[in-house]
Symmetry: C2
Subunit: 331 residues, 2 copies
């Protein structure tokens, strides 16, 4: 089945642009509860795979050996803003494991915290690896690397860290991945299907009910994300605000190119969503609409509405349109 029109962008009387996509909701047995579009579509989960990539960090015992706090576990799953909150914690974590910014393989990224980014421009300081949105994930990779006594090239697909991640990825998606792309941070990003990622998220959502090592790791990471939404993304970002606004426990994680996942521990449900064209404005609105339809989010909450149905303003500050979920799709 083809993609479904999910989000439209209105300007004056016209729907000027439209975004299509796919979505799957899975239960704890891995069965599809509801789907839009094609559940068999192959996707790259991008940063929505970070919880999967953090599983070996916890399951191996590395997290305990290095006394990782819930904040640090949340950072290991984060696409953070590179705001002072995040930079300070990642920096301290690196120091605690005897590593430094130069050991991070992720490239330098300008901080997304406007005030810090402008301060760095004023100070003539170049973008830093520490502020790469993936620096928490990479510090997790370095922690596991140290725990395993492995070499420094922790992003190589045949490095012990990446092999452990691939194993965990295939276990929780219950699929054999056909391959990988290289992510924005240079780590391998394994291909899944829409169904596979929803199943993986349902594995996380139902993890508290099981006692095996991987399930306990998944439960701990989910709890850390839910406890620390500010560490998962940052002020102004959909993951952080929608997790805070949720009427029940919700772990939410965006990925590049219009991908999004949600974990609902109280229901044992996992959600996978992909906007075909890769637009974040649409994946934000669509995941919010899907969660409103499940009564996890309240459409009237301004913290939800700002992502579900945001106004569009022009340079003069005039409201000239809106982004909204296509009526009748998520019901």
């Amino acid at each position: 089945m083809g993609a479904i029109e999910m989000v439209e962008v209105l300007r004056g009387p016209l729907a000027e642009s439209c975004h299509s996509g796919h979505a799957v909701v899975c239960d704890a047995t891995g069965e599809i509860v509801k789907a839009w579009g094609d559940p068999h579509l192959q996707i790259l989960p991008r940063s929505s795979a970070k919880m999967l990539q953090a599983l070996p960090l916890v399951a191996s015992g590395a997290a305990d050996a290095h006394h990782l706090t819930p904040q640090r576990l949340a950072l290991s799953c984060a696409s953070h803003q590179g705001a002072p909150l995040h930079n300070t914690e990642v920096s301290a974590w690196l120091s605690d494991i005897g590593r430094g910014e130069d050991d991070l393989i992720c490239g330098p990224e300008p901080s997304r915290d406007t005030s810090l980014r402008h301060q760095m421009i004023r100070d003539g300081v170049a973008p830093r690896r520490l502020m790469n949105n993936c620096s928490g994930k990479h510090t997790g990779f370095l922690t596991l690397t140290k725990h395993l006594g492995a070499g420094p090239d922790y992003c190589c697909p045949d490095h012990a860290v990446q092999r452990a991640i691939k194993d965990a990825f295939e276990t929780v998606t219950n699929e054999t991945t056909p391959g990988y792309g290289i992510d924005g941070c240079s780590a391998p990003n394994y291909i899944s299907t829409m169904h596979g990622m929803a199943r993986a998220m349902a594995f996380f959502a139902s993890a508290e009910t099981r006692g095996d090592t991987l399930s306990r790791a998944a439960a701990r990471l989910t709890r850390a994300m839910i406890a620390h939404p500010d560490y998962v993304a940052g002020e102004g970002r959909a993951c952080t605000h929608l997790m805070r606004a949720a009427k029940e426990p919700l772990a939410l994680k965006t990925g590049a190119e219009g991908y999004f996942i949600a974990i609902l521990p109280d229901r044992g449900l996992g959600i996978s969503l992909k906007i075909t064209d890769g637009a974040t404005r649409a994946s934000n609105a669509a995941i919010a609409a899907l969660l409103v339809s499940l009564d996890v989010l309240d459409a009237d909450n301004p913290e939800v509405a700002r992502f579900l149905n945001p106004d569009v303003h022009n340079f003069a500050g005039l409201r000239i349109g809106e982004i909204r979920p296509k009526p009748g799709v998520f019901t």
Copy 2:
């Protein structure tokens, strides 16, 4: 007919994202030569309508009365970078007509010239209206306003300037517009169909062959754009580089939300292209592919390839994928 898949984004072995759209090629008689998707689709041409919005400036005699150079006519049709080249010329133009930056209704926009934008941050200078990408168009509006002795609210739909623009718009699209949206710069942006805008562009492309006032204005604006691609957009932008790289005269103008037009004076052809989801990376690649298929651009020219089929790099500078026209679409 629905939208056609036009551009895909590859990462590793996977087409991670895909962009669909519509396109129409019209000849000087207004007939469709070739079409992809739905020629009847209603669209907002956004900044691709700037040549139409500049028609009354020339046709009224205001351009001659104020000795507008081809550079200034190109700026009246431009979405410029707010680079020093553009800011200096718009500033001088404003001064020549006895107006200033405060008379511009377009809101303030950060310069897209990185070096200037960073210098302004270092100097603690806020974004300025002068650097709004539409400041040349607005200075054209102010010039016509002065010529007509009209009031300062030149963006009101019932202002003499906007009424003249609507007249010209309906004449060259050969359609009665059903309404308008408000553009990023606060000017009304009239709705057309894909066919209507392609017909308007063919009007421009064939204007040299006719002697009426509107055609002479269209021909003069087209010549100005072709003579000064650096004033139409700026360094690093598709319009500027593709116009420079063309094997025959070509006027090219992007619009927000994935819209693009092309004018081919040697063939009397006009082109209208819309990417459904509004992505510029896709409208750049698709218009380049369409123009390659017409032998206006050479796919092997690096100045073409950088928009037709650009590499995608990550933060570490690794090539991790590419954007490419969907094979077999533009042939």
